[in-house]
Subunit: 220 residues, 2 copies
């Protein structure tokens, strides 16, 4: 159960420290002894909780992928229920992703850095969840920006993920404004990027979009 912010169980404690360490120095760069030491037990004691080092990484990556995807689905469901406009739904998606990116920096880092260290089956699962999450965004983005061809929408979503996930890469986070300001800034950047995506599609045209309502990126 864990009423809410219970004392974290040993497993969770281990996963948390492992995430931090993996993000800092890479999966292969961290030894089991270090992970153990980080939670106050030492070395092979971990094997009472996990079958192996790989299993920790797998659980972390599958976990974050699932949380992202189900979080996204919940956004969509709530938006639909509340009868929100596509633009507001996109705002909700963006905010939720920003929360992940700012709160679980280590996991976000791992998520696109250590994926290939997984067993085939786990990697397939994570990839599938990622794909579904992307498609979920693509759908909303294309509702907000109907002029955007699907391929470009997908590429834009990937790019915006790169943008939103960029904060963990900062060497020292002190360079950032406070959390609220950063979140608001990232939100504006993401919306601005999407708005600019349908500028004029280059060669493969679709022409008609004219002055579109949704935003108003000043000049755009």
């Amino acid at each position: 159960m864990s009423s809410r912010t219970d004392a974290p169980t040993r497993r969770e404690q281990i996963l948390g420290e492992a995430a931090r360490l993996f993000a800092e120095r890479g999966f292969h760069g961290v030894g089991v002894d270090e992970i153990g030491a980080a939670v106050g037990i030492s070395g092979p004691g971990l094997y009472r909780h996990f079958p192996g080092k790989d299993a920790m990484l797998a659980e972390l990556l599958v976990g974050i992928s699932e949380r992202l995807y189900t979080g996204g689905r919940r956004c969509l469901a709530e938006s639909a229920e509340a009868g929100l406009a596509p633009g507001a739904t996109l705002d909700a998606l963006i905010d939720r992703h920003i929360d992940f990116a700012l709160d679980d920096r280590a996991l976000i880092t791992l998520h696109d850095r250590e994926l290939d260290r997984l067993r085939d089956s786990d990697r397939k699962l994570v990839r599938q969840l990622q794909r579904q999450y992307v498609e979920l965004w693509v759908g909303v983005v294309r509702e907000v920006h109907p002029g955007l061809p699907e391929k470009e929408a997908r590429a834009s979503v990937h790019a915006v993920f790169g943008l939103l996930n960029s904060t963990p890469h900062l060497s020292r986070p002190s360079a950032l404004p406070d959390r609220a300001t950063t979140a608001a800034l990232l939100h504006r950047l993401a919306r601005g990027a999407f708005a600019a995506a349908e500028g004029r599609g280059g060669a493969d045209a679709d022409g008609a979009d004219g002055a579109d309502g949704a935003r108003g990126t000043a000049g755009a």
Copy 2:
């Protein structure tokens, strides 16, 4: 030397394959035997060209950092010489970075993934080059968008780097439109993000921007 597209020297060949392999499976994830095999020699033969595995990574990371920074400086110099507007300078910076991101995906990946595997001195050097490169962007961005506070400008630049560098993270690049379309799209996304950055700065106010003048993302 090397008139232009000469047969690459052994060293260059090794560096190229090492970059590819490091990007695919991580620095610790690839053995020297594999790197050797990739260029047709085997294992310790590499030590005729490099003092060690670390040295290869160091040369790759220092190299790409230098190329990015000097490339950026050249952009600025040429723009100044031609008397271009700040907007056009920013366009040039963006295009140059996109060329890097699309042509040297492996290096871009390494650049923000394996930095901590370097010896202290090398890491410091790379970090310094990165910082200088960022500051160079920040200067131009603030010329184009004077309403943007410095901290937010810097964060925006980092975020846009994340955006521009996102393509390597795509599992299979076939999902992307052709190169020209992708480049144009990334360019629009980046400009759109910057344009949206100075929306209204949130809490920490600088107050006066209201309807602010300096805009005109459109034409640029």
